[in-house]
Symmetry: C2
């Protein structure tokens, strides 16, 4: 049995239907809906009834046309499958929901649409937007020029008029480096991801940590920050002439891949080599050994970014002038890092 007609969307009741049913003007209904005014008990009751019976709710597009607000906020994510970004979305989503805003989600990893085109399309459908600080220069420039409220997540925007939220990557890496140094490690390899601006910050932080020591740091690079790449680069990093005591990777995904592959290559972690990443994704706990990492406040980043965005949209006076909000990070030491074996 099939439908006689393709399910057609029933036309919703309009404010006029309500006005008529309640025997008042549309203006009265509008004011009633949007609150902030008092009415006769009589009118109030009739309107309430009419709204309920007709199941009325105002048309967001019609309202938007005149208020200039869409009721939506946008978020542009590099790769939703990275748990770091997943948590970020979770945090943003929660805050948006509380504020009664809808979240327009975009994943750019596919990159079918050029970044700029995508932003231009999105910008007409949202009141503000949260984007990665890794956006292209052209896109950032266009955003600035557009006047759309924007919050950047991840790194800090050089332009002081921009708002951004994230951890201090250099300081975070320095903490991790210090941890490794305290464990007696001297030969450190960093598997960076030059596609992210702040990978170099993390590299600098590591260097800071070993400043004035006899530590030897070496730099590698992956083409994308995923587990596969960690697997791919494992042998280059681990089986070289003078192998490292410890390896730090750009993020936990790369670390997970590296960790798995290291074991397949016959290395014992952490006895032969310590491994650590960034982001504190939950799955690091379920690797074996559990992965040492640096928490980069993923969910809090999302929450904070959304809060700042909403403030900007609402135009709260206190929050003018841009600036970077630094979130606290912390090292989470687990089984994948340990004191360097004496004989090693």
């Amino acid at each position: 049995m099939t439908d006689d007609t393709p399910a057609r969307r029933r036309k919703a009741a309009t404010i006029r239907d309500v006005a008529q049913a309640a025997g008042v003007s549309t203006a009265t209904v509008s004011k009633f809906i949007n609150g902030g005014q008092r009415f006769t008990r009589e009118v109030e009751e009739r309107v309430t009834t009419a709204v309920r019976e007709l199941g009325y709710s105002s048309n967001p597009m019609a309202r938007g046309m005149i208020t200039g607000q869409t009721g939506n906020v946008g978020i542009v994510i590099l790769d939703i499958c990275n748990p770091h970004f997943t948590s970020l979305v979770k945090g943003s989503s929660r805050v948006a929901e509380r504020a009664g805003l809808n979240l327009l989600f975009t994943d750019t990893a596919e990159g079918h649409t050029p970044e700029l085109t995508m932003l231009q399309a999105l910008s007409r459908r949202v009141d503000g937007i949260i984007v990665s600080a890794r956006l292209s220069e052209a896109a950032i420039e266009w955003l600035k020029h557009s006047g759309l409220p924007v919050i950047y997540y991840g790194g800090q925007q050089p332009d002081p008029a921009c708002y951004s939220v994230g951890v201090d990557n250099r300081a975070a890496a320095q903490m991790l480096g210090r941890h490794l140094r305290d464990l007696g490690h001297r030969r450190i390899s960093y598997v960076g991801f030059s596609g992210a601006r702040w990978s170099s910050e993390r590299w600098k932080g590591l260097q800071d940590a070993f400043d004035g020591s006899d530590g030897v740091l070496r730099l590698f690079d992956v083409e994308s920050a995923v587990a596969d790449e960690g697997e791919r680069i494992a042998s280059s990093v681990l089986l070289c002439a003078e192998p490292p005591d410890a390896v730090v990777t750009y993020n936990d995904l790369v670390a997970l891949g590296l960790l798995g592959q290291a074991q397949l290559l016959g290395l014992r972690v952490p006895d032969d080599v310590s491994i650590a990443g960034f982001d504190n994704i939950i799955y690091g706990r379920y690797a074996s050994p559990a992965l040492t990492t640096v928490d980069t406040a993923s969910e809090l980043t999302g929450e904070t970014a959304m809060q700042r965005l909403i403030e900007r949209i609402r135009g709260d006076a206190a929050v003018s002038g841009g600036g970077h909000e630094t979130l606290a990070s912390r090292v989470i030491a687990r089984g994948s890092t340990a004191r360097r074996a004496p004989g090693r």
Copy 2:
């Protein structure tokens, strides 16, 4: 240095501005923008220029008011932090982007807003919606009544007029059960999640697999399908009087938690007990031993659901009448399941 004014959004050029600049009527510009008509070279050139110089793009809300289309599609996710759903979103997102549709994302796990209220608000902002088959009866009823194009993911909707997409959970579980049976396992425990309708399908599938054998199946239940719960229930499942040869869990997250805890309790996996889950989340590969699982076509589910939704929105004739689309699933055997030890 602060801004003199709160960044004000510059008012975008309207179709009238373009018409004036090009010396034509707004109707002409509209037709030109929306294509599908031919113009004098002269007009075409003037309009093109005006559009470019003014950086014009049409106002989606104004357009939506008259076309009745929003250009948005909604997706309602139970918990974006579950990689299964993350992949689903990824698939949907890609297809939506290709079709030029924006994705309105909602995560219900927080549940601040009642399901029905959330759907009602969302329904006015989208042309169609993808939701979990785990939605409440009331919500499903309301959706049917609304006439909004809906695709359910996960389980099959009983109502044949509804569209749904997902794997055959019973058959999938039967395959996994068969795998375990072939490995010589006889005492099987299933850690289900009664919060999901299709957990019982999986339970039935397992029973099917051991039908007519001397297998003994036992049922447990978690309150939420996350790794923590897998950890929590581990001792109850594994340390009982007659411990199981193998444990199947509702999904990989629970399995991961259970796996980690099993090892902390001193059990060797898979020597002492085999463990398997559902969904084939990527992190199962990085557990140790790697997790045996059943692939539930997460990303394909998202893609397919979005394709069907778009067909429904566009009103393609061929796709009337509803129905369930079954996606193929497959067992992915890894290290966490192995032949039952002889002496066990």
